[in-house]
Symmetry: C2
Subunit: 192 residues, 2 copies
Amino acid sequence: MQAIDNKLIYYFNKWIKLTTAEEDLILSNFEPAFVKKKKDLLEVGETCTYIYFITKGCMRSYFVDAKGNEHIYQIRMDNNWISDLQSFFSQRPSLYYIEALEDTHLLRISLEKLEELYDKVPKLERYFRILFQKAYINALERLNATMWDTAVDRYNEMLKEHPDMFQRVPLVYIASYLGITPESLSRIRKKQ
Amino acid sequence: MQAIDNKLIYYFNKWIKLTTAEEDLILSNFEPAFVKKKKDLLEVGETCTYIYFITKGCMRSYFVDAKGNEHIYQIRMDNNWISDLQSFFSQRPSLYYIEALEDTHLLRISLEKLEELYDKVPKLERYFRILFQKAYINALERLNATMWDTAVDRYNEMLKEHPDMFQRVPLVYIASYLGITPESLSRIRKKQ
DNA sequence: CAATCAACTTGATCCAGATCAATTTCATTT
DNA sequence: AAATGAAATTGATCTGGATCAAGTTGATTG
């Protein structure tokens, strides 16, 4: 794989500065993957063997509750990471599904290879430290919004922050991600 | 400070293995701090200069909404970290308050010193990578519970996971942390 | 140790968003 | 292009937890 003009490397270099040798070493440990629309990347009960970088496409993670209802907690598109981190880092069976909402191209790496790379390229561990730090801060903000803002506020916030999602993701899924029913989302949109 | 039998070092060594020299270096960069009950460690508008490890005590972080209502998003007790990470890492003014619920003893480190330490002791960056990773996974679980479980379920979960909080934290604050009113929490407890 | 303020409880009422049910619109497959 | 199934809309009704109000218990502080 060519390090130059590679999307993944481009995003690493936003926060850390890699040498060409490091870029090559890192890339040699990633392998491409592809999931067709509506197919699962991960199913409940499977152990999540990889962490994935989406180069092009769209995925959702969700779980199914006792009543059989699906609840989406992540929607990720191009140039974002997706995985079930709980399963990936513990190497225990997942409680979640990860499904492609579009034909999706990914780059994946196993836990074993990632941990080897951390030792060989400590800067990479810095990248992931920063990544998780930001993800954590984000999750707390989403938590606050879910607890204390109205559904209308969360809808508007999402429209502002992720307008692209509305072009590519069915509203049923966006509703679930916002923590409301499709009926409520439909009514919110009507009133705007 | 003595590295041996130090709580902070004990917790670092749960996930990484430090040499005595590294332990001493790390500890020499932390300084003790103390906050009296009901006093603020951080106020809205201040930049959060430190990340803090609570050696003994209890703290809450909260924000005040447009109507003047307080909303608690973190309660932390002994042997946990507390900070406003958003403000700390960006070095911009905080949107949150951090207040002591008991007389609290802490160990603090500035962003500058922490980043120096990352370079000198890469294992420390590993510790924080793992810390944020776990914190992120946790925040997502709390988000799912807030979106999809009932108030009763969240109360029972908290009773199971953090029974100690009910001994030390007033119910008004626990209610806010759970995303409900004190009235609702009182009614939930009555019915059990 | 009384006074004052904060925490907690209980009751009555209200409302944002859920649920249930029926169409309508749209997308995919043959 | 017809058939099928999924997504979206609309209406009627319901409900978990909020809000408002008042009273009680408990903990600080002068």
